[in-house]
Amino acid sequence: MRVSSSSFPDSFIYETNQLQNQQNTLQTEASTGLTFTTPGDNPAGMTQALELQADSSETTQYQNNITQLTNSATTSYDALNGLQTLISQASTIAAGVDSTTSTQQLNSDATEIGGIIQQALQLANTQDSNGNYIFGGTNVSSPPFVASTDADGNVTGVTYQGNTSVASSEIAPGVTVSAQTLGANTTGTGPRGLITDTRSGADLFNHLISLQNDLTSGNASAVTSTDVPNLSKDEANIAYQVGSNGVVQSTLTNTNDVATQQATNLTTQMSNLTDANLSTTLTQLQQTETSYQAALESGVQVMQISLVDFLY
């Protein structure tokens, strides 16, 4: 094939341009640490990377949800624990009453029960760190349990002003969990109520008020025959609620473990898909640089020589 004087420069420019493009690609790969940065570099990879990115964000959000729900469940648990202790104290007091108990002792017990009622009321109106009442169902902005008192300041009745709905949140795709414990439920359906629940027969405040009234009036037989069995129902109900809370916390912990594992898997998949193998990239870059230098040196040598150099 005949070679003209511009054949060398043309081919030289074309070849060195190819090498520069290759260098640029490898340099970008080395500096970003990514094998592709635009959709055109790797269309299938980009589609997959964007989906992995969305999945990763979603998994992180589920972990955040789990953290938030765990905080709520922990706050509920602390209150449940406190209530359980109070019921236990009330049950102990009631169990200690019989026909031989002195009036003075009964009055003292009544006063103690009055204090327990106040403490239970405080716990039933527990607020979380954001100021939300945690036992009012989805009515979180006002105290769910409102007490009416007599002239002496004794609680004579407690009404529930919350509702019977609980909020559930997603902890995995399509999986919702509620960390809420409902204050009261007299509908017979849905989540059990903590203080009042028709299915379990729990009615803590009325039972405590009844106990207080029986102690005050010296009706020891009513304490034994009515109040003690009633408090047992409250005790059983709170134990059920503590157990449910434990199940929720356990579910949240397990799901968080799965989410953590999934986040790691997604990161690994993303890394395998997008991360440049720097040792390979840098080796290829070195090879391309060597080829580029060789092309430049040979090009300069060839283009400097012509027959003119040897004539005359």
Partner: protein, 467 residues
Amino acid sequence: MIGLFGTLDLASNSLSVQEEAMEVTGQNLANVNTTGYTRQQLEVQAATPLQTPIGQEGTGVEATGISQATDALLNSQIQAENSVTGSLTAQQTALQNTETSLNEQISNTSTGTASPSGITADLANLFGSFQSLSTDPSNLTDRQSLVANAQQLATEFNQVSSSLGSVNTQLNQSIQNDVTSSNQDLTQIASLNQQIIEAQGDGGSANDLEDEREQAIENLSNYVNVTATAQSNGGVNIGIGGVTMVSGGTATDSLETYDAGGGQLQIQAQNAGTHLTLSSGSIEGDITVRDGALATLQTSVNTLASQLITQVNGIYSSGYDLNGNTGADFFTGTDASNIGVNSALANDPGAVQASGTAGATGDNSVALKLAQLANTNIPGLSNQTFSQSWAQTVGDLGYTVSEVNQQVTNSASANQMLSNQRQSVSGVSIDQEMTNLMQYEKSYEASAQIVTSLNQMLQTIVDMDDT
């Protein structure tokens, strides 16, 4: 026998021919770096011999013309490949601009240096905010964060829509510019045709003008696919899309743009009034991207935004805010160009309707439904989720870009091969020209030596009379 004076003429003619050959060589060397120059060579032949008693006797050499070392088939192939390259390069540029408009960036999982951006990341942030709100529906900080992330997504949609619109405008502008340049080339080709026809009509050659015309045709072929038909008088007729644009020395027609609706320019022959369907060239490349990948992408972005508005508002409007108000929309607008967030929410995050029951500020049912939209297959998005649909859209554009990038590489390689082949035929070789120069120089010296010898012989004859 031609005698001494005949031989002197022979030598003199030879000197002239060698000198002319050197001139052609000089012309070749002078244009060794001239783009589009075709090497020339002096065509010579033995002069008409004389009949003598001892047979035919030569009368020397004569120049018959200056020819070009050209290959019409190669030129035609280069014109066609130029059009293909013009189209692909225009497509590549437009698609790369389109790709940049999307602003989709993935993060580096190892270094964490680049944070993801674009609609994918913003969609994830929006649905993440709905999730956060669902865990604490009355929380004002979560509400503020939701409104901010929604505004970020809406702004991203607006920017992508605006950038894609700009690419569309640039393509129409580019089409307009290329039409102007094409018409200049057509006028130049007609003018050069005229000069070449006149020169060849006088029996001469017009090599340099032919080079210039070939350059103009190749330049034109970058913009549009041309049909160049050589005429016996030396002219070349140019046709575009089946319409004759140049006939001999006359530019019979020209290109013009017309609005096919919505400001989308198409091409027609100005005089013939015929719509031109182009098969290659940069104008066709621009139209292909504008009406193909770009239009598809704009539709996809608008559909995604429109579906987001419809789906979110459909759930959201039934919700209640912290004050028990209901019925408002979350997103405003109809597509990517005008999507926005209800302006009332920016100043009052409490107005976000996250609850499903009036007065129940802890109710998260609406926020939860909105969060769950992230994993809902939307019928209007081919039963894909929002993020899947967008990833698919980005991937589809990527496939188009990747394909065109590969085609540009192949076309550049084909162009390089054709260019090498043409250089092999038409390019000037300094080595070859220097060799020719030496050859002509030696021939010139030899012819001059004949003149010297003849001069001595004639002097001898003159001196004979003196003795």
